[in-house]
Amino acid sequence: MSTILPLTGNESGAEVMRQIAPDVVAAYPITPQTELMHRFADYVADGKVPTELILVESEHSAMSACVGASAAGARVMTATSSQGMALMWEILYIAAALRLPIVMPLVNRSLSAPINIHCDHSDSMGARDTGWLQLYCENCQEIYDTGIQAMKIAENKDVLLPVMVCYDGFILSHTVERVELLEDHEVKGFIGEHIADHPLLDVDNPVTYGPLDLQDFYFEHKRQEAEAMRNAKPVVLQVAEEYEVLSGRKYGLFEEYFSKDAEYIMVCLGSAAGTAKAAVDELRAAGENVGLLKLRVFRPFPAEELVAALADAKRIAVMDRADGVNSIGGPVFSEIRAALYGRSSAKISNYIYGLGGRDIDIEMMKSVFQDMKDGKYAEEAFYLGVRE
């Protein structure tokens, strides 16, 4: 049984949190995450979820409280955006390195300065090497489905890493769409109970979290963390398979949208991937040999699988909604090109688009495919939709 509701992205995120009903949520409001936490706080106040909601004085405290609660053995969630996650920074690494399975919707928003409340991926992309898994959503349905899968992935004993569920601020967070929800009991059954192996509150078996760890063991602990991230890849796929059985909706590391036989392939993530699909539909109808590879899982980075999926492309255009400000290219581009090094002869170009919420429409997407067809190429990134 499923329920179909008109929900914004933030409302989808709040439904995920209501159905997961974490033991502890610690949060601080920030645009465009605010409505998510507003709605969830209503659920708590109305007694619809038994969650201990801790209203803290900053995002640094929010993530710190999440770390404490998760180490104590609780199932824990929070949510934030932009500057909020920037303020969590040092605790992001600690959550991952202490192997705490916290799930955090991250409502993507640009970083200051200049101040801007709209979408780009600068916030999450900056955190790509914090040890968190990162899953990106195309629409409000994916926010719901991904949020539920995220909890199960995070708590898998081979993973035990925190997960960010990234979705585009305003473009998804404040857009109403049709969302199909599972029943509460189905979600509960799917994620199961969280039983921590080494909870701090187990006083009969005392453990220490976060002690000094110098030349003797620090390196081994980091090595194990890296291994956990590698383990996450098959777990993401396994959880996706189980979720498909439950919901009928299919997920993977990425989605190949008419890209299997395409000469010209765009790589894109987030809500813009939907607009790119609409562009592919039009161009395919006109006989063009184009396709889209929509990246869903950015951490762990599915290098092997991407190499196989992109091997036969003649040209590849990688879309980045964050600028590396590094004179070499955006983060998705850098990873894709590194993965393909020595294993593909395709020319790979990079497009930076949509910073600070600048709209990207179907015509702009089509222009990228046209560029590939025309052989337009440069070592440096192209900027799409900017006034030069």
Binding site: P6, I117, F170, I171, R178, G274, T275, D359, I360
Partner: protein
């Protein structure tokens, strides 16, 4: 509206902050989804000030909607505040056959002259008059919904009324909701077409 069979309909709502265009666009989507359709509604967020020009969008389709950009080629524009004409380009991207539903006391013929409209199909509705009569306040969004339901045929009036009662009763109380029901019903009947 475009001919039957074309499966993506795109609407653009022009209003000023506080007139309820976001609520109207969201509500339209909500009813469309309750009818089993796919739909999407989103406002264009700028600085949020009461009285500032703003746009909202609604997409409706029989299939999942992939697009996540603004609407550049609307099938219809719904103008909640006629003083916006000339202030912002409310006709932008609207095709020759595109529809205009505008809040004014004028007839469509008069509105063409007053607002300098060439081409398009023009429908007028005194949404402000209806809102003042029925609600006692100038919130023209629900009369505009009533008029749009009539001229577009996109939604069933019964579903709109049912949706209104279901969605807003808890928040605004039965009395206010019933006033809005009357406003929608009146606008549905009173909207004026050019050949009338």
């Amino acid at each position: 509206m475009p001919e039957k069979g074309q499966d993506l309909i795109q609407l653009r709502w022009h209003s000023r902050g506080g007139q309820g265009a976001k609520t109207a666009a969201d509500f339209f989507t909500q009813v469309a989804i309750s009818e089993g359709k796919y739909s999407q509604a989103f406002p264009e967020y700028g600085p949020e000030r009461s009285g500032a020009p703003m746009r909202s969008y609604t997409r409706i389709s029989s299939e999942p909607i992939k697009l996540h950009s603004a609407v550049y080629k609307p099938d219809a524009v719904i103008i909640l505040d006629p003083t916006l004409v000339g202030t912002v380009n409310v006709w932008e991207g609207l095709s020759e056959e595109g529809e205009v539903v505008i809040n004014t006391r004028l007839t469509p013929q008069e509105a063409r002259k007053e607002f300098n409209i060439t081409g398009h199909k023009v429908f007028t509705i005194d949404a402000t008059g209806i809102a003042l009569d029925e609600l006692g306040r100038n919130i023209p969004n629900m009369p505009m919904v009533g008029a749009l339901v009539k001229v577009s045929g996109l939604l069933e009036l019964d579903h709109v009324i049912e949706g209104l009662r279901k969605t807003f009763s808890a928040k605004f109380g039965k009395e206010v909701v019933e006033k809005n029901v009357r406003a929608i019903n009146r606008a549905y009947k009173e909207v004026r077409t050019e050949d009338a």
